[in-house]
């Protein structure tokens, strides 16, 4: 009797450890259920990756083979990759994208960190106003300010420049960063800061020496999300730029021309698309937990 019980106990504790709280143990159906989950998981992965796989396949097809409609290229070639890196149609936009995105991320996260700390920790008039305004900006249609920005940048000489894009990117990245960061800051134990205060530190010193190391993961997450946002932007990129001086990759993809007047640049666009997706994939692979935490932190308090 006891051995049977212990077997059952061991059995259920093993299964319980894997499945998490509240999962009923159903031994005979387990194999069938597992199969169902496997199928579902595979289905989900395929769903997520098929378009990417298709672009990858197109990027390895030479211009003649592009229209053969096969998923696996019969004669893979690096011609498209060579084209985009040697004809100057992609390198400069890539540099623009990298530079503008990084600068926007740094500034946005810096400003948001200051603001989020204040919102999570301090009491001051206008706090609710700022949060509401941030929320409002997140809902803003970018196209609504494209016209005024075009005209403003035209007169200020910011049209087709890096700052011309950095400024709107920063602005629209602020709400999301402030939410993510204030959610993270709220998780940090208050006592630590109070302890520092008792030790004689001013609020600012408490911030620098105690909070910052604890907040670093949150800052990092916010930076990743801002990076995604700026890397991805298209509206501002095509309306506020007109030359390679500041055109970023999403806008440049639109301008790829084929080798001749009548040829489609499908292969070149695909190759460029893959190159520009690689950083995304790397970030997702390395930081998927953080990204998920960041996305859900602001939206729902669990």
């Amino acid at each position: 009797m006891s051995s049977q019980t212990s077997t059952v106990t061991t059995h259920s504790s093993r299964a319980g450890g894997r499945a998490g709280a509240g999962r009923p143990q159903v031994a005979p159906d387990r194999r069938r259920i597992e199969f169902k989950w496997i199928v579902l998981t595979i289905f989900i992965i395929v769903y997520a990756l098929i378009p990417l796989a298709w672009i990858l396949s197109l990027s390895f097809k030479s211009p003649a083979a592009v229209t053969d409609g096969k998923l696996i290229p019969t004669d893979p070639s690096l011609e498209n990759y060579r084209t985009i890196f040697t004809t100057g149609v992609f390198v400069r936009p890539l540099i623009n994208s990298i530079g503008i995105t990084i600068i926007s991320t740094v500034i946005a996260v810096a400003l948001a960190t200051l603001a989020a700390y204040a919102i999570a920790r301090l009491n001051f008039p206008g706090k609710r106003l700022v949060l509401t305004a941030a929320l409002a900006i997140a809902m803003f249609p970018p196209i609504s300010i494209v016209g005024p920005l075009f005209n403003m940048w035209r007169s200020l000489g910011l049209y087709d420049t890096w700052p011309g894009l950095i400024i709107p990117y920063m602005t629209f990245a602020l709400p999301m960063s402030i939410w993510v960061l204030s959610a993270f800051f709220r998780e940090i134990p208050w006592e630590l800061e109070q302890a520092a205060g008792v030790d004689g530190a001013t609020p600012f010193q408490a911030f620098r020496k105690v909070i910052v190391p604890l907040a670093a993961p949150g800052v990092f997450t916010a930076a990743i999300l801002v990076f995604f946002f700026a890397w991805n932007d298209f509206v501002f990129a095509i309306t506020l730029t007109s030359t390679d001086r500041s055109r970023t990759v999403p806008a440049a993809l639109n301008f790829f021309t084929g080798a001749s007047q009548f040829q489609q640049p499908t292969g070149a666009i695909s190759a460029a698309a893959i190159i520009v997706t690689i950083p995304i994939i790397l970030l997702v692979l390395a930081f998927q937990r953080r990204i998920v935490a960041g996305l859900t932190a602001g939206a729902v308090k669990g």
């Binding site: 600068i103 500034i107 075009f150 035209r154 000489g157 910011l158 049209y159 087709d160 420049t161 890096w162 700052p163 950095i166 309306t239 007109s242 030359t243 001086r245 301008f255 021309t257 084929g258 001749s260 007047q261 009548f262």
Partner: protein, 412 residues
């Protein structure tokens, strides 16, 4: 933050010291290398006074315009020479984005040049765009299937002949500028026109008399609803028509001459090129000579350019007959100077006489600063081609064009 703003600006301001001025020539990508050739030739002839540089614009005319208008409106001083589509002259001139050629240079740029192209570059009696290359659409037919069309061959006869043989006719019906090309030719061939007084520029009035307009629309509508229309008619652009004709089940095609060299390498029909015949754009009314469509590239000087004098000189060089000959032979773009036609070989251009007379008699699309709006209005009313009633559409078109002329219609 202020420093951050200033740095890239300063960086952008770098460069451009003394030395040979660079003239940026903005023009869409073309095949055949005739742009590069013109640039090499003219840089040689410049003898160090200037250096022309090719700045590539997107392939399609609408995309080129999208890029140009934005930058010209932003007072871009790097735009020296503009490769102008023939329809942009009035718009760019009225917006003061291009400068007219000095009267002293006008003669050199228009002597011996065919009428159509000169008209397309003129606005309010000034020459704003110097003719360089031209283009028009001819009626191509399968010599082995039908007889040569008589001089007064009409659209309806074309439809009936093809239908009788159970074959198709290829034209461009996509919702794009090509539709305006076709319709404008039909309208002018019916004796009508878009504008009463194009010289009045902004204050011109819409013509679009009901009689000719309805006739032109009826020709188009009958075509679209007949069995000779291709199933892809409503998305067919120039290349689609070419490819479809090469498949072999069409007997007529209305398209630019680029299809002729391509026919030599067509595989579905053996010896297709040898079986090709050509004639002038068909008439709408048997008694009125047709007015073929007009295309091509002109050359203008940007009004914010800092090297206008050099740009004027460069244009004189670029458009010279020798470069037009190269463009014709290697790029398939017909010349604008009449004498160059005599230098074309009959191997490459057996149709050069029809070509020359077509371009000379061609009707430019309406010369108006609001041309873009008129173009969109037309597409709005008549696309898809099998969806409108000619009489009703004529009325709707007139109304919408009147609004469009004042830039007051909301057209996507």
């Amino acid at each position: 933050m202020a420093a951050l703003l200033l740095l890239p600006l300063l960086a952008a301001c770098g460069g451009g010291g003394g030395g040979v001025p660079t003239l940026n020539w903005y023009i869409g990508k073309q095949s055949g290398g005739w742009i590069e050739n013109a640039i090499t030739e003219c840089n040689k002839q410049a003898g160090g006074k200037y250096k022309i540089q090719f700045q590539e614009l997107p392939k399609r005319a609408t995309d080129q315009r999208e890029q140009l208008v934005r930058r010209l409106a932003a007072n871009d001083s790097s735009i020296d020479i503009v490769g102008m589509d023939v329809i942009w002259t009035a718009e760019f001139a009225n917006a003061k984005w291009i400068v007219p050629f000095p009267d002293s240079e006008r003669a050199a740029l228009t002597d011996g040049v065919l009428k159509g192209p000169v008209e397309s570059g003129t606005y309010q009696n000034k020459l704003y765009a110097a003719p360089f290359t031209s283009n028009t659409q001819l009626l191509w037919y399968r010599k082995d299937l039908v007889a040569a069309p008589p001089p007064d061959f009409t659209w309806q006869q074309m439809i009936d002949t093809a239908a009788g043989l159970g074959k198709k006719v290829q034209i461009q019906g996509a919702r794009a500028e090509s539709l305006n090309v076709t319709f404008n030719a039909l309208l002018e061939s019916s004796g009508g026109r878009f504008l009463d007084n194009p010289e009045a520029g902004k204050n011109a009035t819409i013509s679009l008399e009901p009689g000719p307009t309805t006739k032109a629309l009826a020709a188009l509508s009958n075509f679209a609803n007949s069995p000779v229309a291709s199933p892809e008619l409503n998305t067919a652009e120039e290349d689609t028509s070419r490819a479809a004709f090469e498949k072999g089940d069409s007997v007529y095609e209305i398209n630019y001459p680029f299809i002729y060299p391509s026919a030599a390498s067509a595989t579905a029909v053996p010896d297709l090129q040898k079986k090709l015949g050509w004639a002038r754009f068909p008439r709408v009314d048997a008694n009125i000579p047709s007015r073929p469509p007009l295309g091509g590239f002109n050359l203008s000087v940007g009004s914010h350019s800092t090297h206008k004098a050099e740009a004027f000189q460069a244009i004189q060089c670029i458009r010279q007959p020798a470069n037009q000959l190269f463009a014709a032979e290697k790029g398939g773009n017909p010349p604008t100077t009449s004498a160059v036609y005599d230098q074309l070989t009959t191997d490459q251009y057996p149709f050069k006489d029809v070509l020359r007379s077509s371009i000379n008699d061609a009707a430019p699309r309406p010369v108006s600063p609001a041309y873009n709006d008129l173009s969109l209005a037309l597409q709005n009313v008549i696309h898809p081609l099998n969806s409108f009633d000619p009489a009703a559409a004529a009325v709707a078109l007139r109304k919408l064009c009147e609004q469009a002329l004042k830039s007051e219609a909301v057209l996507s």
